[in-house]
């Protein structure tokens, strides 16, 4: 530990644009890791900062950034309306300042900011889940991973080429046809599509993009087709091409828990699949969560100091924050945890979940 760290420093927590933490991130992740390229929306200096969805919660010690947490507001489009969540990522503490709980400081700050922003929950993808479960995070939301056999031959073989910057408008229109997704602007899509290490391909018909699919992002998702949209047979053709490229390296399709001709076709031919939690989440704005549950169930749901009070004919039922989160973002949309909350509210389990999901490009 440095001499400066040995003394009690003056600590200050603030919200900053990404450029303020570049040196800290280099010290933590190494110069070779291109976080700005991988997560461009966290470093969006092109928009006015007040309106930018991405920022960092930064802890300074004597004016120097020593810990930081990426913060990205996103609107999740679901079959039942839009759900605002805040994605947290790139949690970093300078090596010389570890062991003091500083990461916990920035996480708590980011969580408070998410609550103030009206987000129902914070969502993250940890390298080490145990650190976050101690802070109240739990598995949440649901994704499907469908294994793509190395001999997959579905769909239409159309001319393909790598995606180009000028495709963004057409690809965004295809993406926006998904009933379950994260809302993106064209500018955001353009920045995400330029992530390093990504293989995004477009299928063309009459010279126009009718489908696209992407594999890889930075050093992650190399075996996963994590983003796809468009005419289903054309998507299946692109996915089959990805699947057949390397039989020694099985590939997977990331999909929402919402029926789509692409996922149904893969399951119809016997592709094995697993469901798993999308990430770890923690309830943020209790009032927003209560409004969501009220909207889904038609029940009167009011937030109070410790949870929610639900008015039922037989008397009020109380839900704590964990139960509220389970109602909206259960780790399995037909699981026991969801069923238990649904039983307490005397509603069918399928009346509760948001079925929220994000494709791989949206994660941070």
């Amino acid at each position: 530990m440095s001499a400066a760290a040995a003394q009690a420093p003056h600590l200050d927590l603030s919200v900053q644009p990404g450029r303020e933490v570049r040196a800290l991130l280099r010290a933590v992740w190494g110069v070779e890791r291109d976080l700005e390229g991988e997560y461009p929306l966290l470093f969006d200096d092109t928009a006015a900062f007040a309106r930018a969805p991405g920022r960092f919660v930064v802890l300074r010690a004597d004016g120097v950034p020593v810990a930081a947490c990426g913060f990205l507001e996103r609107d999740f489009v679901t079959p039942h309306g839009e759900l605002r969540l805040v994605l947290l990522g790139s949690v970093s503490t300078h090596p010389q300042w570890r062991g003091r709980g500083y990461a916990g400081h920035v996480l708590a700050g980011a969580h408070a900011l998410a609550e103030a922003a009206g987000a129902v929950a914070t969502l993250l993808w940890p390298m080490d889940a145990a650190v976050y479960t101690k802070s109240g995070y739990r598995p949440a939301a649901c994704e499907w991973n469908i294994v793509l056999p190395g001999d997959l031959a579905l769909g239409r073989e159309l001319p393909t080429r790598p995606a180009r910057p000028l495709d963004v408008g057409a690809l965004l229109a295809l993406h926006d046809a998904h009933p379950v997704r994260v809302r993106r602007t064209a500018a955001e899509f353009a920045r995400l599509a330029a992530c390093p290490g990504m293989d995004m391909r477009v299928a063309l018909e009459h010279g126009r993009p009718v489908a696209y699919a992407a594999r890889g992002r930075g050093g992650d998702l190399g075996t996963c087709v994590h983003e796809w949209a468009g005419e289903p047979q054309a998507v299946l053709g692109l996915v089959s091409n990805f699947a057949r490229e390397d039989a020694r390296s099985p590939r997977y399709l990331l999909a929402p828990d919402w029926s789509h001709p692409v996922t149904e076709a893969l399951l119809d031919v016997g592709c094995a699949a697993v469901t798993r939690p999308l990430g770890l989440a923690r309830l943020a704005n209790r009032a927003a969560a209560c409004r969501w549950v009220a909207s889904r169930t038609g029940l009167a749901v009011e937030a109070d100091a410790t949870g929610a009070r639900v008015a039922l004919p037989g008397g009020d039922v109380r839900l704590d924050d964990a139960e509220l989160l389970t109602a909206i973002l259960p780790p399995a949309n037909e699981g026991a945890a969801l069923a238990a909350v649904a039983a307490r509210l005397a509603v069918a389990p399928e009346r509760l979940p948001a079925y929220a999901f994000c494709f791989g490009l949206d994660s941070i």
Binding site: D128, A130, T133, K134, P261, A265, D268
Partner: protein
Amino acid sequence: MNSLPIDSGRVGATPSAGGGSGGSTSGASSGGAVFQALLDRLAQSAQRLEASEGAVTDADSLADAVEDARSALTDALSLKDQLLEAYRQRRAQGA
């Protein structure tokens, strides 16, 4: 398109009688891929545990390391069960 969640009974789906449009997959090859995927995840879990070694410098980080190890072990045990199940399916399919 069905405006519904995916039928949860399709987890670990086996080939349908008619197959899909032009499909040429088999349950055996899919099962093999799942088997490999689970092996990969077990390896990643072990790597994560290894990575936490040497990071213990004080009592707090020791507690964290113990918790990490417990979590990794829980993951490994869960993965083990999935792995055995995938192995049984693979054997049953004659792969």
